[in-house]
Symmetry: C2
Subunit: 501 residues, 2 copies
């Protein structure tokens, strides 16, 4: 799954589709729901700000036109912010956005809004990381301020794969109606990968509990439009259901349910190539070779003072322990430390949930391997309701900031999700029952967790989108074949170490 | 009141004192209160983090020793973070702070903590504004994260005037017990004004509703220690009174009541030199001259594209209208616009409270004069309870960020508080009753406002501390004599324009 592209967006490269007839069947209900929620919105004291962003050629205009067709236009306003007028030029940058903010009871649709400038200038290299971070910090402040004063902010990021984009841009060039699009207007096309890299950074910095991003897969326009319509309906309805116009919207849902269409229910886990295998003889040879490579690289990292933090998460029985053992077999014992993360101790409970992990951050040149980690908050604590909704929603941003600090100190951060199918998990559970020395590894809880698989899948999908950053990526490991999974992990780590040293 | 020093800190240059006997009388109660609140804290699920910062020689060590004497030491820990150990050096910057965070039920006292580095590096010029802002943004995130997870953060900034500091530093040099102080250790003394300027910036960026700064006047050690003890007691008690260990502390009080000692009740308004006067002949001459100067400067500002935003606040009948008329008489009518701020319209109410002011931000070269302003939120709305506590507490930071955007766009921002005594206000009210054409200016509300004078005084005092920044300062105008006040305003504005053009 390691890829030159930015992993975050792979969550929107799953080939999700809605057929024509599914779309037609779903439409009447969605339109009725939108009309109903817009009617309720009118007297609610809440304003809705919808921001649409994404790669060029993704059809932002089409979506907004579609939404305008579905919504009561007396309650909606669209703002494009294309040309900066001379009047706008002579005012502070944000003046034009403030002027255009929707009033209570209204829905405002912003093309890009305050995201356009950091994205464009970041993409074309005018702004460096520090400048982008400063702009993002301002955006966080602004959005927080608005959200705390009755503005529901819904941010959509539309994503297309490179090949799809090329096709779309060609169509657009040939279509006279597209002359107003960003691409059509100035003729230049932003570099796809530069744009994604900047986008990843901007999303990471501005994806907060109060104003989260929704990543919309846009290869299929029916899936795209239906998902946007439903997400908008759900977020508005949930905000209105809070009942209090002045209450903080920090309690809002992050994860709108997926469209009912079969293809729409895919998650990124469905794309892990579980069929991959390595035969035993090949494995033994390759493992020894990879471990030798790892040994050399970890000594080199030690000498150059480069520390590493590895995170292992995955399904029960996916083989985390076995994988970690093969990995550490390739590292001098003085250089690494495995931290198994179980239920927190009393001392740990008395502190912030990140405190116990900060303690184990490795010193220069060393490696800490977390067998389960701070992602517990976004997985088990979320699914089991052990963390409040506003706690785990905040955690995406908190965790990104935590890992960013490690990365800025020069620490390599890599996160592995060990994936196996439901059937394979069952086989392993049953096998454990039969092997005496493995019986203790199987608990009632494991069986209960199995029943919640679909919830965990949704949580993993969202976790990968919101926390797989360029600097601290997730690798989804195909661990159906244990041998393949172990090699994949060791080789991925070696590649990253080699790249950084 | 215009001064080469940073206005923010003038709030802590009032000469507040507590006598020896007042101190002795107050101590038993304070100690009993602290003991009681610390006992309640133990099982509350709340941790308290106290940060002490301020100019050198201000006695931070003395205060912390005093607190340790008053508190039950089994529940307190002090962390100095002096020398960075080699172990700490090999970890990310914040590792050592995380390690030292207090557990629930405990009080942690940090000397400087995460503020030391930005203050020192900002002061000695190693870090520029962008770097300081980035560090402040990280601090805001961290403090917010902790505050939302049961950490009550109490930040004290101790202030001394330059002359007091000089005396203190001399004493310290002569005292062998001070060898461990920041000054004593490396021998170098930070430049006083550089330190204040950096401090002002850091405070402005990190003074949030969730983790506000408390500015402590420290010229008198008894006043200093008593105020710290009482503030600590009050903030902890209020946090515990919220009852819910997990609830957001955004509802905390910002403004602990002042010490009961007579001298402790001073506010910055008590230092406005109300006795100042200008006689009529002199006034007529000087007014004409100042207006000519203003005319030239405003044309120059127009030509160079430099816009201005002026804010006028003050007591009822302090003469805002008359002052603004004299000011605008010196400006070409095409260049300025007066925006009287009354109760918001329906359209304005339907938007964020800053929206109506954003609309009137001047274009390049123009001037907008706000007769009352966004500070209504921190004055009338706060005192009259028209804004919720968490709304006006957030507003300090929101307003600073708003004004910062104007300043960054090159706009001159200056804020005037027109001050008169209670007696003078009464005289003017009574005179109005007798002058037919002024009768409409006197309402029942004016009389009601008079009764709340002390609340307004406290609100103004806090407003000046939290929003008088180097770039957008407050000037407290002695308007007891109308002529003096008008000239002071025009001359202050001219000075600033001249400085900037």
């Amino acid at each position: 799954m390691i890829d030159s592209e930015v992993v975050m967006f792979e969550v929107a490269e799953l080939g999700r589709k809605v057929t024509k007839s599914e779309f037609k069947d779903a439409l009447p209900q969605l339109r009725a729901e939108l009309t109903e929620v817009q009617r309720r919105l009118r007297d609610s004291g809440v304003a809705v700000l919808v921001i649409v962003e994404g790669v060029e050629g993704v059809g932002r205009g089409e979506v907004v036109n579609r939404l305008n067709g579905w919504l009561d236009t007396r309650g909606t306003e669209t703002h494009a912010f294309w040309d900066v007028s001379s009047e706008e030029q002579s005012h502070p940058r944000y003046w034009r956005y403030w002027k255009s903010l929707p009033a209570r009871g209204k829905i405002g649709l912003f093309f890009g809004g305050w995201y356009s400038e950091p994205l464009l200038r970041g993409c074309n290299g005018e702004w460096d990381e520090v400048r982008i971070a400063a702009a993002a910090s301002r955006i966080r402040d602004l959005e927080r301020m608005l959200a705390l004063e009755n503005v529901l902010i819904v941010k959509f990021w539309f994503h297309l794969q490179r090949t799809q984009q090329k096709r779309r841009l060609k169509e657009l060039r040939d279509d006279p109606a597209s002359r107003w699009s960003r691409t059509g207007r100035d003729g230049s096309v932003l570099d796809y990968h530069d744009f994604l890299r900047t986008g990843e950074r901007v999303i990471r910095e501005t994806d907060t509990a109060l104003a989260p991003w929704y990543l919309i897969e846009s290869g299929d326009s029916r899936y795209r439009d239906l998902t946007v319509g439903r997400t908008l309906y759900q977020t508005i309805r949930e905000r209105l259901d809070l009942g209090c116009p002045d209450c903080e919207s920090e309690t809002l849902s992050h994860a709108p349910s997926l469209p009912d269409a079969a293809d729409g229910r895919l998650t990124i886990l469905d794309h892990v190539p579980l069929h991959k295998q390595v035969d035993k003889a090949d494995y033994t040879k390759r493992l020894a070779k990879s471990q030798r490579r790892l040994r050399a690289l970890t000594w080199k990292a030690y000498k150059s003072g480069r520390a590493s933090v590895l995170v292992f998460e995955g399904w029960d029985a996916a083989g985390k322990g076995g994988t970690i053992r093969r990995l550490t077999a390739g590292i001098d014992a003085r250089l690494y430390r495995v931290v198994p993360v179980a239920a927190p101790s009393d001392e740990e409970l008395a502190h912030h949930y990140l405190w116990r992990f900060w303690r184990h951050v490795p010193a220069a040149g060393r490696m800490t391997i977390f067998d389960r980690s701070w992602y517990g908050r976004l997985l088990v604590e979320r699914v089991e309701g052990l963390a409040e909704a506003n706690q785990w929603r905040r955690a995406y941003h908190e965790i990104n900031k935590f890992e960013q600090q490690l990365v800025e100190h020069g620490i390599l951060v890599h996160k592995f999700w060990l994936h196996i199918s439901e059937q394979e998990q069952l086989n392993r559970f049953l096998a454990r029952k039969d092997i005496a020395y493995k019986q203790h590894k199987l608990t009632d809880e494991d069986w209960r967790n199995r029943e919640k698989r679909s919830y965990y899948e949704a949580a993993v999908n969202e976790m990968v989108f919101r926390t797989s950053t360029e600097q601290a990526p997730w690798t989804l490991v195909a661990a159906e074949d244990k041998r393949f999974g172990r090699l994949a992990v060791i080789d991925t780590l070696c590649d990253r170490l080699e790249e950084l040293l």
